[in-house]
């Protein structure tokens, strides 16, 4: 009983202990804030990465991808059964985007990653629709790449005028009758186009004829969705609080030119081994894509899968299948195994990965960064521990006579030890309690604090152009707060062990005589 009473009184009366409390408090608060912000960033990053991909990705190893998309999708459903929620085929390739800035007429060229998607199924496997700026497209993503109404009419008019003015060398494949395309390129009729297809018994592919050129006015305009950073640029002196921080270089309805290469593995038109040829087409911007990940927003453009197939000569082919599972946590491992072991997706032709495996190095880097930062920050509390040690040592020397008195009254070694350990525990508890309160308060109001700092200093503390997050993301986990508190208490008690032992082992007669 006396241990708790004295420890409590020491805590209230020894102002020297305040230094220990403050150091523990600052350490705990810093750990909570940094962990919450890092967890917030990591979670947002994971959400974005997962949203951009899907739970499981089946990717064909060859550039020409696999044939008969519908059948492959069907096979996925057969293999995984009820575990599958949605499947979406896709083709990814690099391209060059060109557009002219309406005011200056300057031609701007950007290297981009072009993704051919089926909008409706793509929206079901990830968060594709959520990242579109047009609310209408968010609700009905299947129409997000369609150019309709006045925009389509305007497009046709512009195309016609361009045709008259220049040698229209692009649109080699143009809009062909689908049956004609299937007849020419479909390996179901002509055998596999790729040695990776695994169908060795199919007859060899005859050389395809040179595709006819179609007049552009016959073509329907195709839509394209651009990454937000491609279509915008940040105003030089934009403030944190400004609603409009970006200039729009392109808006929906504007035309852009996209150049990419035909598939590498498809045979050439003269019957020899295929070689890629540049293809160019004009698209109409239908929407912008803002994932708040600067790297993706500055690089990704989406076109319809059929446009991608047309441009790359990959009729009825796709490069990857994106699969959404009903319960990712429960089924991911089993689904990956089933797909990898199935005959439909042999490992020499297909790479089956979960989104975490696909982004493994990035996620691992984040985890390592977080771990190292935690170790470094925990050193702050360790420094506080040394502070407690020094202060405790001083207090024990100062209280030597009191220790002697207590021993003359019958206090045991363990009692004195317990007294000073309790004192350390109280210091840790108060410091950790105050630190937790401060840490939670800073985490909850971090955006307001950041804005106030930006206002006072005139410097943007959190650069939104890097992540395009409107707010600093935070994620405060109860387990993390508890762990930090337990760690702080452990260090506080640990730091008081030696001084407490010294106090406990004091010779009572010498302690009583201490001046």
């Amino acid at each position: 009983m006396y241990k708790w009473l004295l420890a409590w009184r020491y805590l209230r009366t020894r102002y020297l202990a305040l230094a220990s409390i403050i150091s523990v408090m600052l350490g705990v608060a810093t750990l909570i804030v940094v962990n919450s912000v890092m967890a917030g960033f990591a979670n947002k990053l994971r959400d974005r990465l997962r949203g951009l991909l899907a739970d499981i990705i089946i990717e064909h190893r060859s550039d020409s991808g696999f044939w008969n998309v519908e059948q492959k999708v069907k096979q996925v459903y057969e293999i995984l059964g009820d575990r599958v929620e949605a499947v979406s085929p896709a083709i990814e390739t690099f391209g060059i985007l060109q557009f002219s800035y309406p005011h200056s007429r300057e031609v701007i060229t950007r290297p981009v990653l072009v993704i051919g998607v089926e909008p409706s199924s793509r929206a079901r496997v990830g968060q594709f629709a959520q990242y579109l700026l047009n609310p209408e497209h968010q609700k009905n993503p299947e129409h997000c790449l369609e150019v309709r109404g006045e925009t389509a009419r305007r497009f046709r008019k512009v195309m016609e005028s361009m045709r008259r003015r220049m040698d229209w060398r692009s649109m080699t494949y143009g809009k062909l009758d689908p049956e004609e395309l299937v007849r020419r390129f479909d390996p179901g009729q002509n055998g596999p186009t790729s040695p990776f297809d695994g169908d060795s018994e199919a007859p060899p592919l005859p050389p395809p004829p040179t595709p006819p050129e179609l007049p552009p006015e016959m073509r329907e305009p195709s839509g394209i969705i651009l990454g937000y950073s491609i279509a915008t640029c940040r105003k030089p002196h934009a403030q944190v609080v400004d609603a409009e921080k970006d200039y729009f270089l392109l808006r929906p309805g504007d035309r852009v030119s996209l150049m990419l290469l035909t598939s590498f593995d498809l045979p050439g038109h003269d019957g020899t081994q295929g070689y890629p040829r540049p293809m160019e087409d004009t698209f109409v911007v239908t929407d912008l894509f803002k994932s708040e990940m600067s790297e993706y927003d500055a690089r990704l453009v989406f076109i319809h899968l059929r446009d991608m197939q047309r441009l790359r000569g990959m009729v009825n082919r796709a490069k990857a299948l994106y699969i959404k599972l009903r319960d990712y946590r429960q089924d991911a491992a089993e689904a990956t195994r089933l797909l990898s072991e199935s005959d439909a997706f042999p490992p020499y032709s297909y790479l089956v990965q979960t989104w975490e495996e696909r982004q493994g190095s990035l996620l691992a880097a984040i985890a390592i960064e977080r771990g190292i930062l935690n170790v470094l920050l925990f050193l702050i509390i360790a420094v506080a521990g040394f502070g407690i040690f020094a202060i405790f040592y001083t207090i024990v020397v100062e209280k030597t006579r009191d220790i002697g008195i207590l021993k003359s009254l019958g206090a045991s070694h363990t009692g004195i030890l317990g007294l000073f350990l309790s004192y350390g525990l109280f210091l840790g508890l108060v410091g950790a309690g105050l630190g937790t309160t401060l840490g939670i308060a800073i985490t909850v109001y971090i955006n307001e604090i950041e804005q106030a700092l930006a206002y006072w200093t005139g410097q943007e503390v959190f650069n939104r152009s890097v992540y395009y997050f409107d707010k600093i993301p935070t994620d405060m986990q109860l387990s993390m707060v508890l762990l930090v508190n337990v760690g702080a208490l452990f260090i506080a008690v640990l730091a008081s062990v030696y001084p407490a032992l010294k106090a406990a082992l004091l010779h009572p007669a010498r302690a009583v005589r201490w001046e």
């Binding site: 009983m1 006396y2 708790w4 009473l5 004295l6 009184r9 020491y10 209230r12 009366t13 006579r401 009191d402 002697g404 008195i405 207590l406 021993k407 003359s408 009254l409 019958g410 206090a411 045991s412 070694h413 009692g415 010779h507 009572p508 007669a509 009583v512 005589r513």
Partner: protein
């Protein structure tokens, strides 16, 4: 085995200290027998080893040689925890500089031996009884109104009376007082002297006190002089006066 009426017995106690390379022999064969209810005064010059002897008798220190018996039990060789229990329940200490704990109120200081005796749970059960006893002693020693005060707010006499209340809290059989009036003014010293005599008479409390106070020493049943590491009895007032003034000690 000591006589049953003997409460405390010291046999051939030796104690020396090391100061650098030098060994200072403080006690060189002290023999002492204290009967139950006796009031004994030990006088001697400063540095003669009086406090050392009290610490040995109170098990705060261990002799280099010799034995200490308490109530028929040899106590100098007890384990640390047994000595702790003995000091808590059977022996009370009073010091010259009161040695109250400054962070606690007077009442809490008085309650301290009872708190040390109890675990958290047993204190919860026995706290009212302990409080009653503490208030009794505070009443008896005229400190009721000062019970909630901190030691630094009290006079020397009040602090010493509070230290006495604390020493008596667990009803010890032996009270060891190390110059209890040494730091008090004349009036407070007389009050404390009268209290000690009263406690000895009414409660049959055995008291051994080290003192330079002539008046206090005169109240004792026996006065012993510690000189050159040995205890010798003093019976004549003339000798007492000489013993008290020896070594420049003040009365």
């Amino acid at each position: 085995m000591p006589n049953s009426s003997i409460l405390l017995e010291a046999r051939d106690l030796h104690k020396s200290y090391h100061k650098g390379r030098h060994e200072i022999s403080v006690l060189r064969g002290v023999d002492l027998r204290v009967e139950e209810g006796e009031l004994i005064a030990i006088v001697g010059a400063s540095g003669s080893g009086k406090s050392t002897l009290l610490h040995l008798l109170g098990t705060l220190d261990v002799p280099d040689r010799g034995e200490v018996w308490f109530a028929g039990r040899r106590v100098d060789r007890l384990s640390a925890s047994e000595k702790d229990r003995l000091r808590n329940c059977e022996i009370g200490f009073i010091f010259q500089f009161y040695h109250l704990l400054p962070e606690l109120t007077l009442l809490e200081n008085v309650l301290m031996p009872a708190m040390i005796q109890c675990s958290l749970w047993s204190w919860w059960l026995r706290r009212w009884e302990a409080h009653r006893r503490a208030w009794e002693w505070l009443d008896r020693l005229g400190l009721r109104k000062r019970a909630r005060s901190r030691p630094q707010e009290l006079s020397g006499g009040e602090m010493q009376r509070a230290a006495m209340a604390r020493a008596l809290m667990n009803r010890p059989r032996l009270l060891l007082a190390d110059e209890p009036t040494g730091n008090l003014d004349l009036q407070s010293a007389q009050e404390v002297t009268a209290l000690l005599r009263d406690l000895n008479r009414t409660h049959k409390l055995t008291i051994i006190m080290v003192t330079h106070n002539w008046e206090l020493a005169q109240q004792a049943d026996r006065v012993l002089r510690l000189a050159e590491g040995k205890l010798t009895p003093l019976t004549e007032p003339r000798n007492l006066s000489a013993a008290l003034t020896c070594g420049g000690a003040s009365p």
